[in-house]
């Protein structure tokens, strides 16, 4: 990252588009160098890298909170902290993981770097807006950090009123942080929609778009349409706390359940904002490591759009026991089941693609296969919750906690790390140690299943979530769950070490280490500033191995 400092100023005014993006950049301040050139860059790849560093930091912080939560739950009663501290811990864990890590993780970090290249474009449609989105995110994160440093919040990541209107923790900065980061997410969505519509290279028809790009397109729609509702909800909540607006306060004629409707109208689509990009990554990985045209390309592409649209109709399944009418509950339940279809379509198509394929089990593919396995568990247990009779029993128990970790960690995080391993050579120009990658993978998946499988049983046996203390009967399973979390921690530390080692002394990456037919592997590693040495003209889809020229697939 010091590379920018090493070349002549003449270069910087008209940066050379064929130079590696790590060496040259377009910048808001012409001629900027070194760190300043990074901070003012207009290049989508550098912006993506800045996001990547931010989200990984957030993941680490959120992970530390998670380990503390688990440690406290290792035994009933006080283990290492008191009840108030615990309540802050799980709230901060949830908030950091959701707003700072998972929502920007795949779209804003990896999507930013890879998607324009997959489109054959030089950059996103609005590079300045892109940089602004990053700073809005950073600004929002500062608010969240400010709140955390001052003691944090203890409301749960859902900020339910009236508790959040009364809690004497630092709720307002945290809410404002989430509010501001919401705009970052909206603007990224706007940017990506325009980019995907208008920046495709000649010959790149919609039918030749990569499935990752399709997934980002669906995600962007959701970001643009759902996030503003969260924004207005959080604004109302802020007003509630500061001005006593009374919209959610029963004492002033308001309704607390209204807040829940507003919140979930955003946050249910948000869970698809989290998973759909992960599914996009998995589609890429399966294509590359199975060396095969994906079965049911259009079905996979359209199921992303289907999830995006259906996702707006099911928010009520979070409120089955909060006193909605039986009639409404029935409709929400029925619609919830409908969402299973597009997810199922993807799973079936991925598995079918493996049939008669040529499968290589390099690390990125391991993560993709783990994704299929874990996400199916997470998704199917979602059905237990969408089902009215069983949700009444399971709502707000550890069953829900296990469900959403299986989809978010077993799904999105596995997709994220699969993508990170896969595109790492393109990002950095370096290879990493395959062996360490495998060790990390095994530790994480083993630990993950130990941690959260136990929680399904805890939940169905009645253990409520957000509990600092519990009946002695639950002790055994909680203990195993805590032990599992140590394996996850060890696994991610291994990976952290692996990536650092790669940066410092990894072998130089070839153009196309995986022998992929996709467009981003046809440009040098790391990608050049202008993305392409020659303007690309597209004649086939990204998974058309039978049409690819041998030199395109060469692993060099």
């Amino acid at each position: 990252m010091t590379a920018a400092a090493t070349h002549s100023p003449a270069h910087d005014d008209h940066p050379d588009p064929t130079e590696s993006y790590l060496k040259a950049t377009h910048s808001l301040i012409p001629g900027a160098r070194g760190l300043l050139a990074w901070l003012t860059t207009l290049d989508h790849k550098r912006i993506g890298v800045m996001y990547l560093i931010s989200v990984l930091t957030a993941f680490m912080i959120g992970g530390v909170f998670a380990l503390l939560v688990r440690l406290e739950l290792m035994s009933p009663g006080k283990t290492i902290m008191d009840a108030d501290t615990y309540n802050h811990m799980f709230t901060l864990h949830g908030v950091v993981m959701v707003f700072l890590f998972i929502i920007p993780s795949i779209p804003a970090a990896m999507g930013n770097i890879i998607m324009p290249i997959q489109l054959g474009a030089k950059d996103v449609a609005f590079p300045r807006l892109n940089l602004m989105s990053f700073y809005i995110y950073a600004f929002g994160a500062c608010f969240a950090l400010y709140s955390m440093i001052n003691g944090g919040v203890d409301t749960g990541w859902t900020f339910y009123t009236p508790y959040s209107a009364r809690s004497n923790s630092f709720v307002i900065p945290m809410i404002l942080g989430a509010f501001i980061m919401g705009f970052s997410s909206i603007l990224t969505g706007v940017n990506f929609i325009a980019t995907i519509h208008k920046m495709r290279a000649p010959g790149l028809t919609w039918g030749r778009l990569s499935l990752f790009t399709w997934s980002l397109y669906a995600t962007s729609i959701m970001q643009v349409l759902a996030t503003p509702v969260l924004a207005i909800t959080l604004l109302l909540l802020t007003m509630e706390r500061t001005l006593g607006m009374g919209i959610f306060d029963p004492k002033l004629g308001g309704d607390p359940v209204l807040f829940q409707h507003f919140f979930w109208f955003y946050s249910h689509p948000a869970v698809y904002i989290m998973i759909v990009p992960g599914m996009g990554v998995v589609s890429e990985l399966i294509g590359t490591f199975a060396r095969r045209q994906l079965v049911g390309y259009w079905f996979i592409a359209m199921s992303s759009i289907g999830l995006a649209l259906l996702g707006f109709l099911v928010w009520g399944h979070h409120l089955f026991v909060s006193g909605m009418s039986e009639y409404a509950a029935a409709i929400f339940s029925a619609l919830t089941f409908l969402v299973a279809i597009p997810s199922g379509v993807k799973i079936f198509n991925w598995v079918a693609t493996l049939h008669k394929a040529s499968i290589s089990l390099q690390t990125p593919m391991l993560w993709a296969l783990a994704f299929i396995f874990e996400f199916t568990i997470g998704g199917l247990t979602g059905l237990f919750l969408g089902m009215l009779a069983t949700d009444v029993h399971l709502h707000d128990t550890y069953f829900v906690v296990a469900h959403f970790h299986y989809v978010m960690v077993g799904g999105t995080v596995m997709g994220f790390f699969g993508g990170l391993h896969y595109w790492w050579p393109k990002f950095t120009g370096k290879m990493y140690s395959e062996r360490l990658g495998q060790i990390g993978f095994v530790l994480v998946t083993f630990g993950f299943n130990l941690t959260f499988m136990t929680q399904f049983v805890l939940g169905s046996r009645g253990m409520p979530r957000r509990y600092y203390d519990y009946l002695p009967e639950y002790h055994e399973l909680h203990r195993w769950s805590t032990i599992g979390s140590w394996f996850i921690g060890a696994g991610f530390l291994t990976l952290l070490y692996m990536f650092i080692q790669s940066l410092r002394s990894g072998p130089k990456a070839p153009r196309n280490p995986w022998g992929s037919a996709a467009l981003e592997w046809q440009v040098p590693s790391p990608a050049p500033l202008g993305n392409f040495l020659k303007e690309p003209r597209i004649t086939r889809g990204p998974y058309d191995y039978h049409l690819a020229k041998p030199e395109e697939l060469e692993q060099e």
Binding site: K356, L380, T390, H393
Partner: protein, 332 residues
Amino acid sequence: MMLASFLDSSFFGSSFFDPVPMKWEGQMPESMAVGAPHVDWVYYAIYYFSLFFQVVITGVMFYFVWKYKRKKGDKLETPPDLTRLEIMWTVLPLFFIVILFHVGFKGYVKNAIAGDGALEIRVRGKQWLWEFEYPNGMKENGKLVVPINRPVKMIMSSDDVIHSFFIPEFRIKKDVVPGMYSNVVFEANRLGPAHVFCTEYCGTSHSGMLAEVQVMTTEAWDDYMKKGPPPPPECEGRPACWGEKLFVQNACVTCHSRDGAKSPGPTFKGVYGRKEQMKTGDMVDIEENYIKESIRKPQAKIVMGYENVVMPTFSLSDNQVDALIAYLKTIK
């Protein structure tokens, strides 16, 4: 071994309550109400349904990975046109979900519809205790007694924040929302103890907001209604023992630690006989009358430094207050 005791952990001190034990049947808590078996049936139905899909999907996936592992000279071909198959696996699940939805909905309606002539019990959720009021006006905190084989309707409200009333053994749950009444109906069909958990996060002692349920025969229940709560048999003639139980039931523990730890209210480590400074600056001796007043009229004298937390008023019988005092004396 150090590690073993660490993992086993009463090493760190233990839970602040000692409620009745919880029993399981398979993956679920013991089934104690009329609606429960149907919920369990639905649960296991979808469980086996999911298990089936999981095993098939994972099985096929691993088989393919093993069978089509990359070898030298693999031909790179496109898959044949599978549109038929695609349509099948889009439409077939639709069929499954209609069935799933149907069974789930039936179970829900069964549990939601009120039985006529139900016994009505008022429930108030407060940070952080459950108060139950019976038709004869009797109130009790932290303990719910219900007759067997009779529909019961809980009419629930809250004065502060949202709580949620959950009895795992009955498979029922409903949010208790300030500003409105919500209700939930059940009919217990097995004698014995069960649990109430609060399942909507409500602040510091959310996890301490528990109550004990006792399902009794109709005669025992009528008797209980007449006489008010007696000391439990194991504490017969030992007020401090009863006091300790009351201390937990009434959720005093959620605000008053017994080991000197910081808590929302003053700690009770060595409380009896200590001198305490009030908000007004006066010093008082903590003895019987002061404690009695603190329980019955907590706002009469406010301890310095605790102006921000409001201790709720407790309507306890004289015997109960005496038992509590006897217990407080034992906390050294």
